[in-house]
């Protein structure tokens, strides 16, 4: 880093200014939110941006608000803030819990809600849980505003639908109407990224089960979850959903586990997650976390 041709540092202090710069420079500038992932890529020599557009001074992107029962998280809200915010802890505990399981407190001070989604790293914790609770990303440009679901936002490895003149400015999460859990199965250290992540939520008679860290994008099969409409879900149904997820998925292999290993973990972790949200409405995010081992 450093030396050579001067790198441009753009640090707008308002959203309007940030959007104008983004629209003007497009893909020629690299957007910096918390910057933790970008810094890793720079330190490893994978990227060498010639222009950096930092959102650090844009106060409009730091809000945590509830509007008409919906949670609105500014893109620059840190993981640590989601973990500790009293309103999120009370009304969306599964988010506090999932964001609080990312890396270490020091990294959570830096990593942001917008950054982790725009990076679209398959092994990050937040995408699966945000997908399970039906969150939407707000994308803005001088052309206008659009909202996309998490599975529309993330298209592949480190790929999103964010256009070159757009900024991800906010994440909106509907009111939590039922239990939700996030299970993080780690195969190495407790601060590691997940080997298998399972987020499950029941809301308004619908069950959503999303598996993260196992494929390019979060995986979920609404047809398989149709079983979990109303009433308690019994163990046989939970087991069946786990089995079908494991069978249908084509897990990747990486240093955290082989495809075959992941397939077995998916069956178990999906079953446990469904059991946790299936029994009754009492387990909203308070469940135990995946402890390792398989059955």
């Amino acid at each position: 880093m450093g030396g050579g041709t001067a790198v441009e540092w753009l640090a707008p202090s308002s959203l309007e200014e940030a959007l104008a710069l983004r629209a003007e420079r497009g893909g020629d500038t690299t957007v910096v939110a918390g910057g933790s992932f970008l810094a890793i890529l720079m330190n490893q020599g994978f990227v060498a941006p010639t222009s950096l557009l930092s959102l650090g001074k844009v106060q409009e992107l730091r809000g945590i608000d509830v509007v008409d029962g919906e949670l609105r998280l500014g893109a620059m809200v840190s993981h640590r803030a989601v973990e500790r915010d009293p309103v999120i802890r009370r009304d969306w505990p599964v988010l506090s819990r999932a964001f609080g399981l990312v890396a270490s407190p020091r990294v959570r001070n830096q990593a942001t809600v917008g950054g982790v989604l725009a990076d679209a790293d398959y092994a990050s914790d937040p995408p699966a849980v945000l997908c399970a609770v039906n969150a939407r990303a707000v994308l803005r440009s001088p052309r206008g505003v659009r909202q996309v679901a998490i599975d529309e936002l993330i298209l592949g490895f480190y790929e999103t639908c964010i256009a070159e003149d757009e900024l991800l400015t906010e994440v909106r999460v509907p009111a939590a109407l039922g239990p939700a859990v996030y299970r993080k199965f780690r195969s190495r250290s407790s601060e590691d990224r997940p080997c298998v992540a399972v987020a499950a939520a029941r809301s308004a008679g619908r069950l959503r089960v999303v598996v993260g860290a196992c494929a390019e994008v979060p995986q979920h099969y609404p047809d398989v979850c149709a079983e979990g409409a109303d009433g308690p879900i019994d163990d046989a149904v939970a087991r069946e959903i786990g089995a079908v997820y494991a069978k249908r998925m084509a897990p990747l292999s990486d240093s955290r586990g082989s495809a075959e290993y992941r397939r077995r973990v998916v069956a178990v972790e999906v079953r446990r997650a469904v059991e946790m949200v299936g029994a009754d409405g009492a387990g909203n995010g308070a469940g135990r976390e995946g402890a390792g081992g398989e059955e």
């Binding site: 030396g3 540092w9 910096v32 910057g35 933790s36 941006p49 890396a103 020091r106 830096q110 601060e191």
Partner: protein, 152 residues
């Protein structure tokens, strides 16, 4: 580019490149307690406090701390109760990771003056000690929190 910040309690203006990490800029200033080690935010040896919160010096683009308060252990001048507790509890062996542990402990105790064992472990999740002095390090935090040594 110029970088104005409050460094260890003093208004300071430094020179940096826009794509330089804070770690490199602080080391160039002679602040050798901030240690280049893993380069991926895992080990905690380059921990600094920014507005009182721990951040990884190796993952923080230097211009991001413009106008903010940055603290390294040099700013504690050996006089901080947490530093004294580390010495009294012998919470180190080789000392490489110690500045990061001291700053992380300071931030923890500022927020939570009586942390439990589990809370201490959680706070240190991003700090590695390859000598394995964790037991003594936790003792140091308990001592700094005013508890008797070895108390459980």
């Amino acid at each position: 580019m110029k970088l104005a910040l409050e460094l260890n309690g003093r208004p300071t203006e430094l020179e940096c490149e826009p794509d330089e990490m804070l770690l490199e800029v602080l080391r160039r200033e002679g602040l050798g307690s901030v240690r280049a080690t893993c380069g991926i935010g895992v080990c905690g040896a380059c921990t600094v406090l920014v507005d009182g919160e721990p951040l990884s010096g190796c993952l923080t683009l230097a211009p991001k701390v413009e106008g903010r308060e940055v603290t390294t252990v040099e700013g504690l001048a050996g006089a901080d109760p947490v530093q004294r507790a580390f010495i009294e509890a012998h919470g180190f062996q080789c000392g490489w990771c110690t500045p990061g542990f001291v700053l992380t402990a300071k931030a923890l105790l500022a927020e939570n003056p009586q942390p439990s064992e589990a809370e201490i472990a959680e706070a240190f999740g991003g700090n590695l000690c390859r000598c394995g002095s964790y037991v003594k390090i936790v003792d140091a935090v308990r001592r700094a929190a005013g508890e008797p040594a070895g108390a459980r």
